[in-house]
């Protein structure tokens, strides 16, 4: 099955970049152009970013995307007002993001627009589910591996990961890093009656007791773990961190005597910011890690060129990645030609 046929099997696909300049925008643009020729209506949105002004300051990781006639897009009021295309407004959300409400619109005359999106996982999920009612065949979600993203791209049916020389100019290092993320993507899903309730939680560290009771441990942040260590195991060893996890929590849990019974739950793999060393040590000692939301990795797209000008051999890169990961690997820059 070709790349595009594969994409069309899904109602929603997220495109997640491992690093800036790994070709996420190019990948997105490529998919959009290719699907347009197939007469499909595509909807596009993005994972909202926490913290206002961030976009305006760095302005690098939110590039404009070129959209074609009839495409649907969701973006913030701020970015809607800055759009360089003609579009018909279909709806406006009641809920606010730091960049204003979200506008759903359909392109009437092609052009470019910056895409911003829902700031929570639930909202993103709801947005994706609304898209077919506007006539969309498939929804693409622009996702990022960033500590600032709140929503999880894993609510989509499938995912495309983009990687490339920007991550490392050394081929084996690049493969190693990509493989690590691939492992994170494949972490076992936590299937439980409480999971839909847990997805909605935006703050804190929680515990699930033996009788399936969910308790807020009242630890304001994982940064303050040391101070509140005595609170951590009040309700047993099944812990849920609603935000991101770092080496700190893994190292702390590893040193506890009941590590073998410890289950650490996070929302999805994008919330895991740990070093391979810490994770391995944690797992080897008997600790378990699970995710609430899991999605299927459909393909990996590579950009062999780094922003500094290093160029890796595209064929070699694709071969060694697909051999290691067992999923199709594409170079969208070559597919364009």
């Amino acid at each position: 099955m070709s790349f595009l046929q594969n994409i069309l099997q899904n109602q929603s696909v997220s495109i997640v970049g491992m690093e800036k300049n790994t070709g996420k925008t190019e990948c997105m643009n490529y998919i959009i152009r290719s699907l347009e020729n197939k007469g499909k209506v595509i909807a596009v949105t993005s994972i909202g970013i926490d913290g206002e002004g961030l976009d305006q300051v760095t302005n690098t990781h939110k590039p404009e995307i070129e959209l074609m006639e009839n495409m649907i897009f969701v973006t913030s009021e701020k970015h809607y007002r800055e759009k360089k295309l003609t579009s018909e407004i279909l709806n406006i959300s009641e809920q606010q993001t730091s960049l204003g409400r979200l506008v759903t619109a359909q392109v009437k005359q092609r052009g470019k627009v910056i895409i911003s999106g829902p700031t929570t996982t639930l909202w993103l999920k709801q947005m994706i589910s609304e898209m077919p009612s506007y006539g969309a065949d498939i929804t693409l979600v622009d996702g990022a591996l960033s500590r600032k993203s709140l929503g999880s791209p894993s609510v989509t049916q499938s995912m495309i990961l983009t990687t490339g020389a920007a991550l490392s100019p050394n081929l084996s290092e690049l493969v190693r890093k990509t493989k690590f993320v691939f492992h994170l993507i494949n972490i076992e899903q936590f299937i439980h009656p409480l999971s839909s309730q847990m997805i909605a939680i935006e703050n804190g560290i929680w515990a699930i007791d033996d009788t399936d009771g969910l308790h807020d441990l009242e630890i304001p942040s994982t940064l303050l773990l040391e101070k509140y260590k005595d609170r951590l195991f009040r309700f047993g060893m099944t812990l849920f961190v609603s935000g991101i996890i770092t080496d700190k929590i893994l190292d702390l849990l590893r040193l506890q005597k009941n590590i073998k019974n410890t289950v650490l739950i996070v929302k999805d793999f994008t919330k895991i910011f740990v070093s391979p060393e810490s994770l391995n040590a944690f797992l080897k000692k008997g600790g378990k890690i699970k995710v609430l939301l899991k999605t299927k990795l459909m393909a990996v797209c590579v950009n062999p060129t780094s922003p500094e000008g290093y160029v890796l051999d595209s064929n070699k890169l694709r071969d060694s990645l697909s051999e290691t990961l067992g999923v199709p690997v594409y170079d969208v820059f070559q597919m364009n030609e």
């Binding site: 809607y80 579009s87 018909e88 407004i89 709806n91 406006i92 009641e94 506008v103 359909q106 009437k108």
Partner: protein, 460 residues
């Protein structure tokens, strides 16, 4: 005083608010900003309109009607800011024009539903003209952009953008199109400006409708009663406190409903510990609030005298006022009641365990004095007390308290409620029931301590 302010001080009202199925943010805002209605005429109107919506809900055909209205209300956004911009003569952008169009369509849908069902009580303006202005292609859906059909030139410019030979040419046509679009936005805004009052009124009416339907649904599902305006009495038959009842129901217990008549005079209520005196006061306060915020009431029958203020002195307020002792807080609340009474404000005063933290001699004196003042100024006041020997003349009621008819079963702290009869009886003695020691026994307090206490009573 707004509902929101009251709700923040009164858990019972918050519980009611959480039960309301309000569909829109404007409905929620309307409810939270609802004034405490003190004018009899306005109250009567409010009850009449609500009862009409309730009758309408009770018809068989209402389910689809309410469903359809709810669906439309649910999609309404608060466009207050946009309407204000419009009335100030500002040029609206596409997002704001979209908001107006969507609102007008939803408003029109709801009005059509209402009229189809012969419901004309709430007046609405016809917004079809507004829709026409924003729907030049007659699509009848709430989407919007500057349609090419607004101006023949626009279509031409847009075509040229696509067919331009160079980037520079494209930019030129884009610039021309943009200028023309802006001109059209200005014209549309000007045309719409004359409708700003109609839009404003409909926004308010729809918020009101949302609130009414939510109140009506609550009244119907909970079988609440239509309150009547009282002139010289307040009368409740089987009044209950919804949130307390909900808590009791969780442990499979029932709230014993309250039957009580109140007049413009003080009434002293005595009863043992745990006999529900505080809940009684809270229930009456809640009923008074619900009545004057335009709700039906959780009772079988209710006749209520409207008041200007409901004033409390009910314990546990110490933490709210920093640095004052509980007695100081209490005495300031009492003073507030007296000042209001003297000023001639019509109030309902609810005073729990007046002067309980001071010594009994002074306590009794304060209670008697307070009752005399309430008598003098003809204030509808409910005062609970533990003190015997309060001599001031007033109406007295007693909570029946522990009953003996289930004597075979052993009373323990958990089933104590089953043996409590919470009903009120009129009494004329100034002696209060002596049940404190019995209740202490039930809690299996140290025997020596109890014996000693009993000895002390005999000595007196």
């Amino acid at each position: 005083m707004a509902f929101k302010t009251c709700m923040n001080q009164n858990g019972g009202l918050r519980f009611i608010y959480d039960q309301l199925e309000l569909q829109s943010s404007i409905g929620r805002k309307r409810m939270l900003n609802q004034r405490f209605i003190t004018d009899s005429f306005a109250l009567q109107m409010e009850i009449d309109i609500l009862s009409e919506v309730i009758q309408w809900l009770e018809k068989d055909s209402s389910t689809t009607l309410i469903g359809n209205i709810g669906l439309n209300l649910h999609q309404i956004n608060d466009i207050q800011q946009t309407i204000s911009n419009l009335s100030n003569g500002q040029v609206l952008d596409d997002i704001q024009l979209f908001e107006i169009k969507k609102f007008a369509i939803l408003s029109q849908n709801i009005v059509n539903e209402l009229h189809k069902n012969n419901y004309f009580t709430l007046p609405f303006f016809d917004l079809n003209k507004v829709i026409e202005i924003l729907d030049p292609e007659n699509n009848k859906i709430a989407h919007f952009y500057i349609y090419s059909s607004y101006h023949p030139k626009l279509e031409e410019f847009r075509k040229n953008i696509n067919q331009a030979a160079s980037v520079q040419e494209t930019e030129e046509w884009k610039w021309k199109a943009l200028q023309l679009e802006d001109e059209i936005r200005a014209q549309l805004s000007k045309k719409l400006q004359v409708f700003h009052e109609e839009l404003q009124k409909n926004l308010e009416q729809l918020a009101y409708l949302d609130m009414l339907i939510a109140k009506a649904k609550l009244a119907v599902t909970k079988r609440w009663c239509r309150p009547q305006l009282g002139n010289e009495t307040t009368h409740f038959l089987q009044l209950y406190h919804p949130s307390v009842q909900a808590v009791l129901e969780k442990s499979e217990k029932k709230f014993q409903p309250i039957d009580i008549d109140l007049f413009n005079a003080p009434c002293l209520i005595t009863g043992a510990n745990m006999s529900g005196k505080t809940v009684l006061l809270k229930t009456i306060a809640l009923a008074q609030f619900l009545f004057q915020f335009g709700f039906y009431l959780p009772a079988k029958e209710a006749v209520v005298m409207p008041v200007e203020h409901v004033l409390f002195s009910i314990g546990d307020q110490q933490s709210e006022m920093n640095g004052l002792s509980s007695f100081a807080v209490e005495i300031l609340n009492i003073n507030n009641i007296i000042l209001n009474a003297k000023h001639g404000t019509i109030i309902l005063a609810l005073v729990d365990e007046l002067a309980r933290t001071t010594n009994p001699e002074e306590g009794k004196a304060l209670v008697s004095a307070f009752i005399s003042m309430m008598n003098k100024y003809k204030v509808n006041a409910l005062i609970t007390s533990h003190y015997s020997g309060i001599t001031a003349s007033c109406r007295r009621m007693r909570v029946k308290g522990l009953t003996l008819n289930k004597i075979n079963e052993k009373i323990n702290p958990n089933n104590l409620g089953d043996f409590m009869d919470y009903s009120l009886v009129e009494t004329d003695t100034d002696q209060v029931p002596m049940e404190g020691l019995r209740i202490a026994e039930i809690f299996e307090i140290d025997e020596e301590f109890l014996m000693e206490a009993k000895k002390q009573i005999k000595h007196e």
